[in-house]
Amino acid sequence: MAKGKRVGMEGSIAIAEAVKLADTDVVAAYPITPQTHIVESLAEMVANGELDAEYIPVESEHSAMSACLGSSAVGARTFTATAGQGLELMHEALYIAASSRLPIVMAVANRALSAPLSVWGDHSDVMAVRETGWIQVFAENGQEAHDLTFWAFRVAEDPEVLFPVMVHVDGFNLSHVTEPLFLRDKADVDKFLPPNKYPTPLHPDKPVTMGAFGPPAIYTETKKAQDVAFMKSKKTILKGFKEFAKIFGPTYSPIETYQAEDADTLLITMGSLSETASVAIDTMRKAGKKVGQLKIRLWRPFPLDEFRKAVSNAKTLIVFDRALAFGGQVGPVCSEVKSALYGEANMPKVASFIGGLGGRDVTAKEFEYMITQGMKVAGKQTEYEMIGVRE
């Protein structure tokens, strides 16, 4: 039985409530659509004294992430949220957060990138920051957005991890949708999430030098150490999911499958459109087709073992991307999928579809088309097919 108070709540507010439940110390943020409801709610909570935190209304996203670097480095529990252009403006500071091992948590309301200007949702912003060294998870609905936000603090702040975490929520499709969810109980969250004990905070009583520069003799080793630690974080990520299930009920996993057990064909999705895709799976199952679905929840570090296992019986994979990789052959998730499969025995055939750009709807019918068409072209396709484009 899932625990918490059942409410109807917008995804963004559910994230803000999770930040409050985590007793966050510092929120530094710059407003950007479709993320605004998250930080507006937090500002309100701070203004009303519901959350004892410092809210820093910075002058840009670059400074938002930079202020987070400072507050996290002194050991304060730190949160921010952004989207699209804001995430790109933060870009270099994202690397600093990860490479300095600062456990910042950030919600990203996924948004398309200019030009042309678009405030609507897709995954272009995410894909541009996928190799910044942040742990990244995708929420599929409001409940996941809520749960994964305080879960993120637990993982990020674990002394075995100390990497920042991005919780991705599809802009508008999820950030602005009101749905029923369980608002978790404060006592349960306190049981799940211990206080932040950053091991080397900046403090005069025990001075440390943080962010010293790395000459060639040392840079390579620091980067190798970082990557080893990053890959190792998966152990804590899994432990976090396990503990979460014990306290709250739902079991989260890096890869989630739907109707996949005997499926020959798997549709691979990430984010909120996964739910629409599931409708297509249901329809096709009713028609006797052996199709299933694979949803990627943990995007970084990519859950290679779980992924390979989940697709081991499939003959065809159909990958749906909400971003373009200019000059590449397929969508960025599809590249990842192909790379994960290369050299595997019984390698499934893969087809790449791209759609839902800049907030364009993707219907269950279109997912049905992708599956049917994908089964035909997988293995023969030389580049992606764009869905829902007016020729």
Partner: protein
Amino acid sequence: MTQATVKIGKREITTDELFASGHRGCIGCGEMLAVRLTMKALGRDVVISNATGCIEIVSSPLPTTSWEVPWIHTLFENTAAVASGVESGLKVMMRKGRIPQKQIHSIAIAGDGATSDIGFQALSGALERGHDFVYICFDNEAYMNTGIQRSSSTPYGASTTTAPVGKKSIGQTTQKKNMPEIAVAHGIPYVATACASYPFDLMEKVKKAADVKGPAYVHVFSVCDTGWRIPTNQSVAVGRMAVQSGVFPLYEVENGKYKLNIDPTLKPVADYLKKQGRFRHLSDAEIQKIQERVTSEYAKLKEKVARSQAPSA
């Protein structure tokens, strides 16, 4: 902990060295001298956020550090924002009882490029938000550690590698951006200029800046013998000449009120310029032009000082 001190004239100075020797600063570096004095004035209860630049490069090559106090370097343009986070983080954790109550100063230090150019926005934001922190700009008037490229703090007529002297150019053709005045325009409680050639003045101002509640800005004129093309033993002398000629007046602005700390009979600017290789190409006419500007700027400053002293109506 009682600190050992040494008496210099009537003043006492700590023997504590919080910016340790062994750093990789150039011989005779005016900036390193200023940093060392700054740290003596600040003491141990600080967290330093340091921009990319000479100071960071010479003081922190892994696995060594010159910093005896907590210190963080992140990027070139975000020092004031990082210091904002440090200040806010410490404040909230003390309020919540997560760490013991203690006065800890959040200090941002950066060069002129990180201050007047790339970090300008973050600095303006932090000053406007009113964080209780000190921003100290160590101004050596160019991007020195990348090879003497011009910044918006490079003075008119100086030759740099990106504003070089040539057949059609006298070097930098724009006037030095007036950062202290821009800081004053933010309406913050304390702004000061300082120079390591006047060590006690510098230390007193840094101390005052730290004790002020709210944002404080200190602009430290930092002679760069490498970039300014002067002998390595002339840094202190050239800094003094900048002050004595009115090129870099030492003043402070407390809650909008101006005060000149040293008001010498101004010496000719030519004496200051001719000491330095970066100005060696200037004609007498150009030097005259610079003299006129320095005279007029100094007069404007004195007017502000006079207005500040006049009894309000």
